[in-house]
Chain length 302, copies 2
């Protein structure tokens, strides 16, 4: 099964305690597409400016990503500048130049409209809604968001969630959206808005999935060197959706496995700046780390 | 196998967003003993003042805890006052009245000196060392500490760790002690001081165990109502050491199970103020929650 992803393709300038990277490839849809490409076909919808080099597009093509839906507009590509201190869970935004992304109106190519799996990366919930109006009965819809939309467009987000199967957000966003400090209660409240499953990302602490009465706690992989957390959430979503689309099985047990594949992809991604780790990463390494996650969490029953 | 525990028995006055409890039973050795008592014999060494009521001692006796080593001194019992805000991971100390605890010099009763399992709760590392000098060749020694000793007596703590099998500390303490922000590197450094195993507690995010080249990630149980986090760490240590002493098996696989029993005890303890939850808690409930931890973390292998 193929996945349609709509989100940003961008340049990032990032500083961490371990180094600096200027004007490197970034963007939510980029990380998502590259990670998902290890598991299934990906169809990308995004916008870049005239300054976007072909080599980045070639990188995505080499990963097998369908870039028919990547529009090129007059102007500059979206550029994010950020810094991380030793607490790598928190990004400090230094500047956001939306550039061509400000006028982004996704136009879903005809060949993409029958996609069975859809991922709406973090953009304006009204635009996410608009994407859903262009596609034909997907089997499974997932979306991400951020505090900016939770604060600015909570009603649009709730409307969107009524159509969504899986909602991915981080811990602070979940508490803010539900106005509830207890995470279990917050998750229940958000599930009442529509999504059958929600996944709460907790950075270096892993993720919690809520699905009906069931809760799954996934660890993060304890890494000795984390170079750049940028894109961890989108790589996570890419691995997760890639595996779901590959297996075409949205059962609770399969979502658990998909979450581990998502965690594997996120753990590799943070080992280098930009998408560099995914330039050399192999499926064999992915499967090996999946097994390491199993060892990491295993204990005998009583 | 029986466990010797040396630590504090105290009064706590605690305020959380969910209520208030004044002058209730507290103390590291109290929480530890009550939790461990579900699994094995516990021999307690601590000190209380003249104001300490018999009902609290009777509670421990009813749990089967040997209180021969509980000294009563002239003066008042150690009294801690603290507050938790919505971030229940962080205790704000309002007042610490050490009282009789200030002059605590543990005197290990003759009948306790052959204990196979020893737990040194958070006290001055020189006093912890002094306890070890009084006991005869224990099979397994574990200890806890706090930032106060890490900052004030790092060398005494390192000397102690050379004799210790298992060191339990929290995340911030591990980073501070090792002067290393990366937790995996911090753990390796601390292991180089002597302990074969270290467990890093991460509050609502669970715990990480490092043992040789192996890492185990244990989740915390996602609770809908957490009333009072006080004593979570000591209940965790109690369940952990209780299970290890009960099974008399310090293999890596068994420590993993012990960590889950510790997590189970901590998860029950935070459901009510003071040790109230342990007044009614049954072994059946403990085993049921252990199985819930299994469900919480289970995913299929590939």
């Amino acid at each position: 099964m193929s996945i349609l992803v709509v989100g940003s393709v961008a340049f990032d300038s990032v500083e961490t305690p371990f180094g600096k990277a200027d004007n490197v490839l970034g963007g939510s849809a980029t990380y998502f597409s590259a990670a998902a490409s290890y598991f299934s076909e990906v169809k990308l919808v995004a916008v870049v400016g005239e300054d976007f080099p072909d080599e980045h597009i070639d990188f995505l093509k080499d990963k097998g990503v369908d870039v028919t839906g990547l529009q090129r507009m007059q102007g500059k590509t979206f550029h994010w500048e950020g810094r991380y201190d030793y607490d790598l869970n928190e990004a400090h935004t230094l500047a956001t130049h939306l550039n061509v992304f400000e006028k982004f109106q996704p136009d879903i190519p005809a060949a993409y409209r029958k996609s069975s799996y859809v991922f709406l990366a973090n953009i304006d919930p009204d635009i996410q809604w608009n994407v859903l109006e262009q596609v034909e009965r997907p089997k499974f819809i997932a979306c991400d968001t951020m505090n900016f939309w939770i604060e600015g467009k909570p009603d649009a987000l709730k409307r969107l969630l009524s159509k969504v199967d899986l909602f991915v957000l981080n811990e602070g966003e979940a508490r803010e959206f539900a106005k509830e400090p207890n995470l279990v209660k917050a998750a229940k409240k958000i599930i009442s808005y529509g999504p059958k499953t929600i996944i709460i990302k907790r950075g270096e602490y892993g993720a919690l999935m809520f699905n009906g009465g069931s809760i799954f706690s996934a660890p993060a992989y304890p890494l000795e060197s984390i170079f750049d957390p940028t894109g961890a959430g989108d790589s996570f979503a890419g691995g997760l959706m890639g595996y779901l689309a590959n297996t075409d099985d949205a059962s609770e047990a399969n979502i658990r496995q998909a979450i581990i594949f998502g965690s594997v992809m996120a753990s590799f991604n943070v080992e280098d700046f930009s998408l560099n780790r995914m330039r050399t990463l192999t499926l064999k390494e992915i499967r090996e780390r999946y097994r390491q996650f199993k060892q990491l969490t295993h204990f005998e029953d009583i």
